[in-house]
Amino acid sequence: MCETCGCQTQGSSDGKVVEVNRKLLEANNLTAQENRKHFDKMGVVAINLISSPGAGKTTLLEKTAELADGQLDFAVIEGDIETQRDAERIRAKGIPAVQITTGGACHLDARLVHKGIHLLEGEMNKHGADVIFIENVGNLVCPAAFDLGEHKRVVMVSVPEGSDKPSKYPTAFMRADLFIITKIDLLPYFDFSVDEAISSAKAINPNLDTITLSAVSGEGMDEWLSFLQGLVETR
């Protein structure tokens, strides 16, 4: 093999070395680019929500539906390993939603989301939307590696999980645009330091925006809604 220029050189008579230098997720990334174009054509802002199971992704969307009524139209692509439960919860709020079940896979990939977009277009039945949320499979590790074609990536950690999560799961924070700390109504009952969580997340990604909120008490929800309005106005 030629170490200097990386050219394709015959090794031995019956063996050869092929330099490939290709991203492993190239196929995923190409589909993600197609998804992004598709979202642009629909005129929507696509947001990828990443968190561990139970951090409150679906509850945040339910509360967003209640508060944004009339000011912001959105639709949801739900990713889970099994069941239609989350999509049903969102539909119960009058929001178009489709469920993608991965059948065991611990993350969504761009191909699954592509399928989700087409299903959602049927569900929306010509109704427009300002925002499409892609609620990823609950997992703070694997979803981070897969570009889905989103415009913004939001990573969430809830108070009961502990403020050390950004330090322990740095990859999820590296490519995120916004970090939300959820369930802040539980702060009096848990040993959770908001300062530690935010400073360790910013140590990984200094450009990260942060919001602290509770979908139950409503505290911080106005900040979340203005963040969304800001994205829609500048789309």
Binding site: M1, G11, D14, G15, K16, V17, V18, E19, V20, N21, R22, K23, L24, L25, E26, A27, N28, A105, C106, H107, D109, V141, C142, A144, A145, F146, P170, T171, A172, M174, R175, K202, A203, I204, N205, P206
Partner: protein, 128 residues
């Protein structure tokens, strides 16, 4: 556990290259996995060993994983730091130590944050 999906992508790409070159078998596969790619190397290796047997073309292949060093940049001076840091030869400190201490070894003012390092690349394949 997304290592399994990653290895499936990898083997798909390796098979495509091997077929392009009319290879009888693949003997070695080299990949580069960034320090912040979120990949467990043991799981990746395990998935490779588990899946390669599904194809005659791949069953004799060995996996070689390269891991480039972590690179950090300072929020204050913008300088990058990697591997061991000069001036600390007596008790060498790695860039990661400075990241964890939240201090840039060059200007001592800003904090370090990781840059890149989340790529996973298929580098090279050896064929017969």
């Amino acid at each position: 556990m997304h290592e399994l999906s990653l290895v499936q992508e990898l083997l798909g790409q390796v098979m495509a290259v091997a077929k392009e070159h009319n290879a009888k078998r693949v003997t070695r596969v080299s990949v580069e996995i960034g320090p912040f790619a979120g990949v467990v190397l043991d799981s990746f290796d395990f998935a490779f060993e588990a899946l390669k047997g599904e194809s005659v073309l791949l069953e004799g292949a060995s996996l070689h994983i390269e891991t480039p060093p972590a690179i950090y940049r300072c929020t204050h001076c913008g300088a990058t730091t990697q591997e061991s840091v000069e001036g600390f030869e007596e008790s060498p400190l790695s860039a990661r130590d400075f990241f964890q201490r939240g201090r840039c070894p060059k200007c001592n003012k800003g904090e370090l944050y990781p840059v890149g390092g989340d790529e996973i690349l298929l580098k090279q394949i050896e064929l017969e």
